[in-house]
């Protein structure tokens, strides 16, 4: 929990500069710049099996500070198992696992404590001199300030997930784990959540590991996309395009086909290649 090299600000995002649709490869988004500021999480030979069924198999992974990593894979390939291990929720993994930054998690469901109002949810367990003040500004950041005193059960799905994001952010994490956080949201809400996550990430620069089923989501957000299959990282692709990204950019189209192939989804495009 010691080293927290907050924000390699030198790696200022050129997202603003790159016009959507141009798809100009922004110089070294993520990778080299972030590498200089160190590794926040590392696994070597990480394995986990449930009653003889191997879910993670000798997995090596490195997440660098400030990097946005997306992990895709079919159901049951161990994505969530890996995330839980990184979150410290699974004590039965074997192999090397080092996490050298404070971790925050956003789960698939918002997991707000229903008997605490939104503000109290965000400040729950927060060790700060003014937890409520910090929590209030985090809510402000996710655009939920006016719902601070609401009961969680009265929030919409998107609002609840934004509250969960605020709760994660307010802890100033060096590693933010997102476990399919948008999968339960409707398509429109999901799009605005993508924008929100990106802007928060750009402002706070935590390393992010996003677990998702959605290839397009991964392509829209990540610096690096990992495909998990049979408990190993089967494929890794780096995306150097600036954000926001045009999903029809030729590089992304090609990568999408590649990733879908890795996932074992046959598409017409794949056949054509």
């Amino acid at each position: 929990m010691a080293t927290r090299n907050h924000g390699n600000l030198a790696a200022e995002r050129s997202a603003l500069g790159s016009v959507a649709g141009q798809g100009v490869a922004a110089p070294e988004v993520g990778a080299p710049g972030a590498a200089a500021s160190g590794v926040v999480a590392q696994t070597s030979g990480l394995s986990r099996s449930f009653a003889g069924h191997v879910v993670l198999d000798d997995l090596d992974l490195e997440i660098r500070s400030g990097e946005f990593v997306a992990m895709i894979g079919r159901s049951g390939t161990g994505k969530s198992t890996l995330l839980r291990a990184l979150a410290g929720l699974d004590r039965d993994v074997t192999g090397g696992l080092t996490v050298s930054a404070p971790v925050a998690v956003v789960f698939q469901e918002p997991r707000l404590v229903p008997w605490k109002r939104v503000l109290a949810n965000v400040s729950l367990g927060l060790r700060a001199s003014d937890p409520r003040g910090v929590a209030r500004s985090a809510l402000d950041e996710v655009g939920l300030a006016e719902r601070a005193d609401a009961w969680p059960l009265t929030l919409s799905g998107g609002e609840a997930q934004r509250a969960a994001l605020a709760r994660a952010l307010v802890r100033d994490p060096g590693l933010l784990l997102l476990d399919e956080p948008f999968s339960a949201l409707d398509a429109l809400t999901r799009i605005s959540m993508h924008a929100l996550v990106l802007s928060l990430w750009e402002r706070h620069r935590p390393a992010v590991l996003l677990v998702t089923h959605d290839v397009d989501e991964a392509l829209a957000l990540a610096d690096r996309v990992l495909v998990l299959a049979d408990g190993k990282i089967a494929h890794s692709a780096t995306i150097t395009l600036g954000r926001p990204r045009d999903r029809d950019h030729p590089d992304l189209v090609a990568l999408r086909i590649r990733l879908l192939t890795e996932l074992g989804v046959a598409t017409r495009d794949v056949d054509r290649e």
Binding site: F107, V113, L124, G125, T154
Partner: protein, 301 residues
């Protein structure tokens, strides 16, 4: 006595099934969806008035039967007689009975002390049993065994152990109150959403915070069910305890009334029990409404 043995659904960590006792609540079960009671505020009160009708009919019948002599006044004193008896017991200090309010105060004190001790122990033990397998193995078998014990069968034992003063009475009340509260709190804790416990872990909650912010609030609906059952048993135990060897209190008044063949005094004391019982139940309902406001949240939108 049936109240304390009705809580059978709570064994072996099987979680949410509420050990619902008399008048099972609409709020039982931690994970149950909040019940939609449309337009709670006013219609609730209207319903409250409707609920008064049948008891009033019973009282009216009572009065008629008694006054017309269908049943003799000796067996069933009329309500007007009871009223004047009550007034007499309140306004005069009789050598036989003392005063009604004095007896009430003493009984209330016994129940409060007994309930505080028993309830306190119950919640602490339930937390111990609810939070760890070790705690469950250590505590739960004993509590389950005590549950099957006939409470009032213990009276002779308590008299031998504690004499005939306040101690056996309060012990009896404490034990009686502890059992249902323990069972429900334990089941409530086991029924708390494991995902929230996991969340607490991710947020780095300390053990104390976990209990205060996650576990106990999560178990609260069940704790309140247990609380109502507990208070019921506490009053019950009080009556029995006070008829054994008391020289003050409501049970003592009943005993004296029996000795002097004054049925009307017995009935007055019983009415006081009834009112006190309803009153405590009402207080728990108030607590319930305040403490569980977050469930109503869903209806306000």
């Amino acid at each position: 006595m049936s109240v304390s043995t009705r809580t059978s659904a709570t064994r072996r960590g099987s979680p949410a099934e509420p050990a619902a006792g008399a008048g099972s609540l609409p709020i039982a079960g931690v994970t149950a969806a909040p019940q939609a009671r449309p337009g709670r505020g006013r219609s609730w009160r209207q319903k409250g008035w409707l609920r008064l009708i049948s008891p009033l009919v019973v009282l009216a019948l009572w009065q008629i039967i008694s006054v017309t002599g269908v049943v003799s006044q000796q067996k069933l004193p009329s309500l007007t007689t009871l009223w004047s008896t009550a007034v007499r017991l309140i306004t005069t200090t009789s050598p036989t009975y003392g005063t009604l309010q004095g007896a009430m105060a003493i009984s209330l004190e016994r129940v409060s002390i007994g309930f505080a001790i028993g309830g306190g122990f119950a919640v602490i033990l339930a937390v111990i049993a609810g939070l760890s397998r070790f705690g469950e193995n250590a505590v739960d078998p004993i509590m389950q065994a005590l549950r099957t014990l006939p409470l009032f069968g213990l009276i002779p034992v308590f008299i031998v152990w504690f004499g005939i003063g306040e101690t056996p009475k309060i012990t009896l009340i404490a034990l009686g109150a502890a059992i249902p509260l323990y069972l429900n709190t334990f089941a409530g804790i086991r029924g708390v959403d494991g995902k929230l416990a996991e969340l607490g872990q991710v947020l780095g909650l300390r053990r104390r915070e976990m209990i205060r912010d996650i576990v106990l609030p999560g178990a609260l609906p069940m704790i309140l069910v247990g609380l109502r059952q507990s208070l019921g048993v506490a009053w019950l135990a009080l009556v029995v305890a006070e008829q054994i060897n008391a020289n003050a209190g409501l049970g003592f008044i009943i005993n004296q009334g029996e000795t002097f063949l004054q049925q009307n005094v017995i009935f007055v004391a019983l009415f006081v029990y009834l009112i006190l019982g309803l009153l405590t139940d009402y207080i728990v309902r108030l607590i319930e409404r305040r403490a569980l406001t977050w469930r109503r949240g869903i209806m306000e939108t």
